[in-house]
Each structure stands twice: as structure tokens, then as C-alpha cells.
């Protein structure tokens, strides 16, 4: 990767506007009163539109000049060192910019319809814009520090949006859970960042040969060994990966992502499916030059395990959004797997295609939820294809793309991952895990689609749990399902087109996407299909998908599910496994019994220590001081005050006594003088006696 020495193009100089505009819109929305709904939506959508135009311009620029181009500026001085921040433009960033702004814009528009009845409409758009700006900041950051700052703002907005309906206890606790769990990963990222700064002396990614991702710094870090015998770059890579594990919901820090579905559905689509959770994958792609074989192997294994683990759990969930959430976790695992075994292009290709079809799935789910008046349990739906044809068609397209149905977008990207996993020399384990995951994905998506869109309409019975609704109660009456307004269905249709056709930019015959990211000229080569094993692999994965679809149909489509209370088809056959999966493999419970119990014990111990020991010392000292105070005040009152008062009284009495001598009667004075004269004379006579 070479640097561009020519004067920077205007799009590069003004690249900062892409994140700055939505953040500005968020700031303005924050100042607007609640009633300015139209203005806040206009500001947010307008800023996203301008950002999208700029992002497309940046993509065009990056296609013309695929080299990394950077703009840096000094930010802050520590001692003699300046911390520099900056932004960069390369194919990876350009692709992400377009994806985030495009999907973001569609979701913003969709939110107009979805949030139309919410009282806090302006607040919603404020948070959404802030999120989009911060995410775009993550994408263009040329410094791990700047990336980290934006990363944290993204985490904050995620917290705010998950807890958007904070009056629901589930939403409030899900928001806290998301924030705290991702903090665990971010601690690793922070440590990795500090270590990287200590090793490389800079946090800029690219800086004309002096950046921390460039040849000299990476070579130096690879040569250093830590005390454990591990290369320093491996250790730093793993620490940074822990941040990505937290943000991207990899095992074992995936627990927050399904709970995050408590937020409004557009938020789930934008943040917890398309963009924010992809930030972890993007981070790993960004620091890819730093990662060595050991780190990549860890990433590949974690990704593969996550892919299967989450897909298993998704099979037994009943909440429409929760199934999609576990599916997202699973697909993020695929991205990490692709990154670990096949490099940046493979992982990011799946990230991009996934962003489109998963946001489409979430928006479709939102449309279903909206149409069924806030019903989220798939057992209470059914037969909706008759009422919501557009939602059904787009949902089905996205579902087939997610399953990897041949020629749909997910097919090409998932196939690239499986192909590279198959060719991965250290082990074939991730390949088999990925293949099982693909089968499970097709199975649970088929199950969901049959539950939601096929069969008879299953109206919830009176005994069913009341659905907690953020809306006023009068909107909760069961009405006939209806199609959503066009402000919601048009974004669905646009996304559906991409979900179907986007895969063709990265087929083996015409790997435009891959060659764009690796800055090599693309070529059209039909003979790439003829490479040994490739066709067989594609047929294998297609067979897996078909198998999953057929299993799904066999269990759920063959005989229509009549009543909402009917046990699940799998539950009838293997109840223990189904219940374990339905309880999410007890990961939350394991955390509850280990980490949380330990934390509770430690906090109880600390509280005891604080109250008894430290509090005791403090109380002892305070009692001592109080006693001394009593003693002092006693001395003051009885000795000092008493003595003084007594002296004053005596002095007053003496004064009165003496004052009574001077009674103003002149003759008294004369008498005294006469008496004194007599005494004097007597004394004189007495003295002269002899």
C-alpha cells in the first residue's frame, strides 16, 4: 500500500463532513422541543442524504485511486509528544461508508413510519443521528484512538437506544447489560491500544511509513517477544480482538445482543444487525496487517464456534426479533471466520451483504410487529402472507439470502467463507462448524417463515401473557393484521433488491469486490469456476441449504400449526435438547452463577468491609472526637466561663462597695478627711511620745 503524495482531493479533505453532518443534526435535534417532529426528521434524514452523496463520491474516488490516503492533524500534546488524529480513505473505508450511510438512510426513512406514534420522536432521531455519525467516525478514523472514541460513542448510543423505552424494566436492564458486557471487551481494546502505543509510539494507522500498521512497526512488534514467549503483535492483536468480541457479540460475550432487541425495531436493524455489531469485524479488518497467524487462528475458531453456537440457540426461540438476533450473532461469527481464514475481503464481503439482508429481515420483522399491533411471539402469528404481501416477499428474499440460497447475495459471501475455510491449512474444524451452521441457519429461518407467514392465523388466547407495549393501551386491541404504510415498505423493497443481487459483485468469476479491497485490477474469468473443488464445494453448500430448507418444511410446513399453544415440532421429538436451546444453553444462568455471583459476593464483602471495618474506624474516631468535644465544652462552661463570671461578679461587687463611698455628699467627704486628720494627729503624737 503506497501513499498518495499528490495534493489531496477535495473529497479527502472534506471526508470529515460525512460523520460530522449527522452528529451536527443530532446536536440540533437535541435542542428541539418535542413538538418539532417534522423538523427533527428532516434534519436527520437530510444530513444522512448528504453524507450518502459524499460517501458515494468517496467510493468513486477510492475506485479511481485505491491507495490509502490519509489526512492527519495534531490534536493534543503530552509532554514533548503530540498525539495526532486523522482520517483515511481506502477501499475498505469507502465501502463501509456507503453501506452505513445507505442502510442508515433507508432505516431513517423507515423509522418515520415505525415511530410515527411515539411521543419521543425527536429524541429518537437525535440518538439515531448521533449513532450514525459515530459509526461513520469509526469507519474513517485513521487513529486507533479516534476509532476508540467513536467506538465508545457508538456504545453509548447503543445503550441509549436499547433503553429508548426505558419505562419498560426489560429495556432498561437490557441497555445496562449491553453497556456492561461490551465494557468487558473494551477494557481489552483499551489495554491493547496502550500497549500498541508503547510499542509503536503512534496510534495512527497509516502515516507515510510511520504508522503503526505499516511495515516497520509491524515487523518490530512481530520480532519482540513477551515474557510468555508470545510475539507482542499477537498479544496486542488478541487484546484488540477482545474489544471486537464484545462489540460483535462473539462467544462468550454474545449475551447482550439478543437482549438488545428490547429497543425499537429500526434500532435493532440499524445498530444490532447492520452496522454497530459489524464495527468489531471492521476493526479487525482495519488492523488486519497487525494480525499474525496465531491471532487469526484464534479469530477463526472463535468465529466458527459462535456461528454454530448461536445458530443452535436460534432454532428454539419464539420471539421473532430474538431469532434474528441469534442469527446475527451467528452471521457475525461467519464474518470473523472469514476474516480469520480468508483475509479482509472475505469477511467484509459477508459483512456488506449481511448488512443488507439482515437489516431487511429486521425491518420486515418490524413491519410484521407493526402490522400485528406489537405482537412479537411467532406462535401468535401465522398466515400473514395474505395480509402483508410486500413484507412477505421481501422477507422471503432476505431469508433466502441469509440461508445462502444459490445466486442470492448470502450465497456468494458465505460460499467464499466456506471455500477459504476448506482451504485453511491448520485445521478443517472451522469448515465443518461453518457447514453445520449453514444447515442450521436454513433450518431456523424456514421455521420462522412458516410460523409467521404460513398456516392459519393464530390469535393469541386470553390466557397468553399480556404483551408489554410502549404504546398507549387503546392501541393494543387485537385488530386484523394489515400491511405497513409505504414509507416502510419502500425501504424494504429497495433493500430486497440489494439482498438478491448484491452478491454478484463478488462471485468467483468476477471478484470485483475482493480485488477492489486488495487494490488489484478485477478480471472476468468464467474459468474460475473450473478450479478444482470449487464447484463441488458450491454444490455441497447448496445441498446443505436445501437440506435445511427441507427439514424446516418437514417439521413446520408440512402440517400447518393450528394453535399457538401447540408444542413445537422439535419439542415433541427431543424435548430436553429443545428446552436447553430455548433457555439459550444456560449461558446467562452460567454467568449468573459464576461472574455475577462472584461480583455479588465481592460487593457484599466490600460492603461489609466498608460498614464494619472502615466505617468502624471512622465511627471510633468520630466518637473520640465527640467525647473530646464534650470534655472541652465542659471545661469551657464550668472552668473558664465559671471563673470569668465569678471574677466579673466580684469585681462588680467591689465596684459597688467603693462607689457607695462616693455618695456625692460633700460633708461625708469632709468627715472622712477630718477623721483621717485625727488619726494622723494621733499617729504623730504617738510617734513623738518619747
Amino acid at each position: 500500500m503506497t501513499q498518495n503524495a499528490a495534493p489531496a482531493a477535495w473529497i479527502l479533505r472534506y471526508l470529515w463532513l460525512i460523520p460530522a453532518l449527522p452528529i451536527l443534526a443530532a446536536g440540533l435535534c437535541a435542542l428541539l422541543p418535542k413538538t418539532q417532529r417534522r423538523l427533527s426528521a428532516t434534519l436527520s434524514i437530510g444530513s444522512m442524504t448528504v453524507s450518502l452523496i459524499l460517501a458515494v463520491r468517496a467510493l468513486v474516488h477510492a475506485i479511481a485511486q485505491p491507495a490509502v490516503q490519509v489526512v492527519t492533524f495534531p490534536w493534543m500534546q503530552f509532554g514533548s509528544q503530540w498525539i495526532a488524529l486523522g482520517w483515511l480513505l481506502d477501499p475498505l473505508a469507502a465501502v463501509m461508508l456507503v453501506m452505513v450511510t445507505f442502510v442508515g438512510l433507508l432505516i431513517f426513512i423507515y423509522s418515520l413510519g415505525y415511530m410515527a406514534h411515539d411521543d419521543n420522536f425527536t429524541r429518537f432521531f437525535c440518538f439515531l443521528s448521533l449513532f450514525a455519525g459515530a459509526m461513520l467516525g469509526v469507519v474513517i478514523a485513521n487513529s486507533l484512538l479516534l476509532l476508540f472514541m467513536c467506538w465508545e460513542v457508538v456504545g453509548l448510543t447503543s445503550y441509549l437506544l436499547i433503553g429508548f423505552w426505558f419505562h419498560r424494566p426489560a429495556a432498561a436492564s437490557a441497555a445496562k447489560k449491553a453497556f456492561i458486557v461490551t465494557r468487558v471487551g473494551d477494557l481489552g481494546l483499551l489495554l491493547g491500544m496502550v500497549w500498541l502505543y508503547a510499542q509503536a509510539g503512534t496510534l495512527l494507522f497509516y502515516n507515510h511509513g510511520a504508522g503503526c500498521l505499516e511495515q516497520s512497526a509491524v515487523a518490530a512488534m512481530g520480532a519482540h517477544l513477551t515474557t510468555a514467549g508470545m510475539a507482542v503483535s499477537t498479544a496486542i492483536g488478541l487484546l484488540i480482538f477482545s474489544g471486537a468480541v464484545g462489540k460483535s457479540g462473539q462467544v462468550p460475550l454474545h449475551v447482550w445482543l439478543p437482549d438488545a432487541m428490547e429497543g425499537p425495531t429500526p434500532v435493532s436493524a440499524l445498530i444490532h444487525a447492520a452496522t454497530m455489531v459489524a464495527a468489531g469485524v471492521y476493526l479487525m479488518a482495519r488492523v488486519y496487517p497487525l494480525l499474525d497467524h496465531a491471532t487469526l487462528a484464534v479469530i477463526a475458531w472463535v468465529g466458527a464456534i459462535t456461528a454454530v453456537f448461536a445458530a443452535c440457540i436460534a432454532v428454539a426461540q419464539n420471539d421473532i426479533k430474538r431469532i434474528l438476533a441469534y442469527s446475527t450473532v451467528s452471521q457475525l461469527g461467519y464474518m470473523m471466520l472469514g476474516l480469520g481464514v480468508g483475509g479482509v475481503a472475505v469477511g467484509i464481503f459477508h459483512l456488506i451483504t449481511h448488512a443488507f439482508f439482515k437489516s431487511l429481515l429486521f425491518l420486515g420483522a418490524g413491519s410484521v410487529i407493526h402490522g400485528c399491533t406489537e405482537e412479537q411471539d411467532i406462535r401468535n402469528m401465522g398466515g400473514l402472507r395474505r395480509f402483508m404481501p410486500i413484507t412477505f416477499v421481501t422477507y422471503a428474499a432476505a431469508m433466502l439470502a441469509l440461508c445462502g440460497f444459490p445466486l442470492f447475495a448470502g450465497f456468494w459471501s458465505k460460499d467464499a467463507i466456506l471455500e477459504h475455510a476448506h482451504a485453511w491449512s491448520p485445521s478443517l474444524g472451522p469448515y465443518y462448524l461453518g457447514a453445520i451452521g449453514a444447515l442450521l441457519t436454513a433450518f431456523y429461518m424456514t421455521r420462522q417463515v412458516f410460523y409467521v407467514f404460513f398456516g392459519p392465523q393464530r390469535v393469541p388466547e386470553a390466557t397468553a401473557e399480556p404483551v408489554e407495549s410502549p404504546r398507549p393501551p387503546e392501541r393494543c386491541v387485537i385488530v386484523h393484521p394489515h400491511e405497513s404504510p409505504s414509507v416502510m415498505t419502500i425501504p424494504l423493497s429497495i433493500l430486497a433488491v440489494f439482498a438478491v443481487f448484491l452478491g454478484f459483485v463478488g462471485t468467483p468469476a468476477w471478484p470485483w469486490f475482493q480485488s477492489f479491497l486488495s487494490a488489484t485490477p478485477p478480471g472476468f474469468n468464467m474459468h474460475a469456476f473450473m478450479e478444482p473443488g470449487l464447484i463441488a464445494l458450491m454444490i455441497d453448500s447448496s445441498l446443505l441449504v436445501f437440506a435445511g430448507l427441507i427439514f424446516g418444511w418437514w417439521f413446520y410446513g408440512r402440517k400447518p400449526i393450528v394453535r399457538a399453544t401447540d408444542p413445537d415440532a422439535l419439542e415433541r421429538r427431543i424435548p430436553p435438547v429443545f428446552h436447553a436451546l430455548a433457555d439459550r444453553l444456560y449461558v446467562d444462568e452460567i454467568y449468573g452463577f459464576t461472574v455475577i455471583a462472584l461480583t455479588r459476593f465481592l460487593s457484599a464483602f466490600s460492603a461489609w468491609l466498608d460498614r464494619r471495618i472502615f466505617g468502624g474506624v471512622v465511627n471510633l474516631i468520630s466518637w473520640l472526637i465527640t467525647g473530646l468535644g464534650w470534655f472541652d465544652s465542659g471545661i469551657d462552661r464550668f472552668v473558664v466561663n465559671g471563673g470569668f463570671d465569678l471574677g466579673c461578679r466580684e469585681l462588680g461587687a467591689g465596684g459597688r462597695l467603693i462607689a457607695s463611698l462616693q455618695n456625692g455628699r460633700v460633708q461625708n467627704y469632709l468627715r472622712v478627711i477630718a477623721g483621717a486628720l485625727v488619726v494622723l494627729a494621733a499617729l504623730l503624737l504617738w510617734g513623738h511620745r518619747g
Binding site: 455618695n663 455628699r665 460633700v666 460633708q667 469632709l670
Partner: protein
């Protein structure tokens, strides 16, 4: 009894009478008269000690007494003026009732 002793006795009597008058009288004017008597007793002593002393040729005693009488006259004038002022102020010349200066 020599003449000096007689003079001193008279003077002492005169002083005693003046003192008694000054101490017992309530009228400020009579108190003043008593004081004058005591003053004259002292003058008498001056004259007696000068006349029967070792140097009767020097006129020290008589000069002293003339000065004393002159001062006493001035003093009496001032005293009477004070009494008059007090009377005007307090409408009485009874010294036992004039206790403005008590502490």
C-alpha cells in the same frame, strides 16, 4: 501658761468650731463660713508662731497671713458664686441634697 500656748488653744478652739460648723451645717453658706473659720484658725497659728518664734523681726508670718486672707477672700467669692449657681440649678442650698457627684 505662756502666751503662745494660749494663742494655740484659741486657734485650736476656733478650728474645732469651724470644723464642727462645716461638718454639721446643712446650708452651703454656713459650711463655707465654717471653712473660713478653720482658715482663720490657721492664720492665727501663723501669727502666733511668727510673734513668739525665733525671728519676730522678719515679717514672714504677717505677709503669709495677708496673702492667705487675700486668697481666702477670693475663694469665698468663688465659693459664693458656685453656691449661687448650684442654687439656681437645684433650687436648694442644702448640701445633703446636692448629690450629683455620687459614684
Amino acid at each position: 501658761m505662756n502666751p503662745l500656748a494660749i494663742c494655740l488653744l484659741v486657734s485650736a478652739l476656733l478650728f474645732a468650731v469651724g470644723l464642727a460648723g462645716a461638718l454639721t451645717r446643712r446650708s452651703a453658706i454656713l459650711v463655707l463660713a465654717g471653712i473660713e473659720l478653720m482658715l482663720n484658725a490657721a492664720n492665727l497659728n501663723f501669727i502666733a508662731f511668727w510673734r513668739f518664734g525665733p525671728h519676730p523681726e522678719a515679717l514672714t508670718g504677717i505677709v503669709f497671713v495677708i496673702f492667705a486672707i487675700a486668697v481666702a477672700a477670693a475663694e469665698a467669692a468663688v465659693g459664693l458664686a458656685l453656691i449661687l449657681a448650684i442654687y439656681r440649678h437645684a433650687r436648694t442650698s442644702d448640701v445633703s441634697e446636692i448629690t450629683e457627684m455620687k459614684g
